[in-house]
Symmetry: C2
């Protein structure tokens, strides 16, 4: 961040707010305009700076964007999400690395020994719980990063996660957390905007 | 989103990417510059548009920003996070509404009956699991929204969640998920930037 002096941070301008937050929508159809691997890498380049617990960054992303990859993925997608997942030029499978603690010496070098707290089978449940939470924070950023690079994101929850894990992550190290279709919006891409939780319910003050 | 024609979305410019993603940092100290309730509401106004499962938006935010509120919060903050939490002009407690399903008729009106799938005590565990995930996606957006409005965010994990719940949410409907200090950066606010997971480990392709 550019801080010329203590206490001075810049604000995102109105146009940027629209692109990333207020006008962006979940796309429900995709055009056949291709998306390059370079564009997909650009999403990750933005996402990867977002904070996670002790910088552990447990999220992993499998980008499915070849016809062969799509053919392996589609049998595990629910009917209501099938057509748009087939049409999307790329589909990101966001997974959690169940063994994210192995990288602690790399990503948290000043306290490499923290890895020991998460070693072993008895810590598996704890690793999955903490890893899933930090990966979800990263996924929240990933969706906004997709918009930032000028692409539409369509997160879907209708799929067989165990089937995807079996097909793409047979060694069991990664586990699927969310599937996000990525591309350029197609015909009638946006449903009517749905209501937001009223502020007096969502927010409290103390 | 401004789509003049199918397939055209705008990209966030370089400056916007720096503010929200690439140059933003977790602040570890805060100046005594105040933060207004209006600024805190502005964070929420950006956050609330981010997608959640079936638009359920289970995250709730308690903004603690009065001396009385801080006095109630601080006893539940771990030693290593105490000084910065005391110094931050505002602290957001991100909570999950365990009964988010009650609002389905409001936020998902075309399928109000979906609420029934989550009714009752036997669905409590499922509600907490799904609600926690969607709330974490919202929290990922909240952190970036804080940066977008020109404020520094400092998420912390060292606190007694049960103690905070007991103090602020005694009726048991909300449960604490993350504590985020908010303000303007103080002295030496940024630690050295920590390494990111290498791309060949974080990304896979199919």
């Amino acid at each position: 961040m550019t801080t010329d002096s203590i206490g001075t941070l810049e604000k995102l301008d109105e146009q940027g707010r629209k692109i990333v937050f207020t006008h962006a929508r979940t796309s429900n159809s995709f055009a056949d305009t291709p998306v390059s691997d370079e564009e997909l890498r650009e999403i990750w380049e933005l996402t990867r700076w977002t904070p996670t617990m002790a910088n552990t960054q447990p999220a992993r992303v499998l980008f499915v964007r070849t016809p062969e990859g799509k053919e392996r993925l589609l049998p595990h997608i629910a009917e209501g999400n099938y057509a748009k997942t087939k049409a999307a030029p790329a589909t990101a499978i966001i997974a959690v690395d169940k063994n994210w603690h192995e990288l602690i010496p790399t990503v948290f070098p000043h306290n490499a020994g923290m890895k020991d707290n998460f070693d072993g089978e008895h810590a598996e449940e704890l690793r999955l719980q903490l890893g899933s939470y930090s990966a979800a924070l990263q996924t929240g950023a990933f969706i906004l990063a997709t918009r930032a690079v000028g692409l539409a994101a369509g997160p879907i929850k209708g799929y067989d996660a165990a089937g995807i894990d079996q097909e793409f992550f047979p060694d069991g190290a990664w586990t699927t957390q969310l599937v996000i279709n990525i591309g350029h919006p197609g015909e009638n891409p946006w449903f009517d905007r749905l209501p937001r939780v009223p502020e007096d319910i969502a927010l409290a003050w103390a």
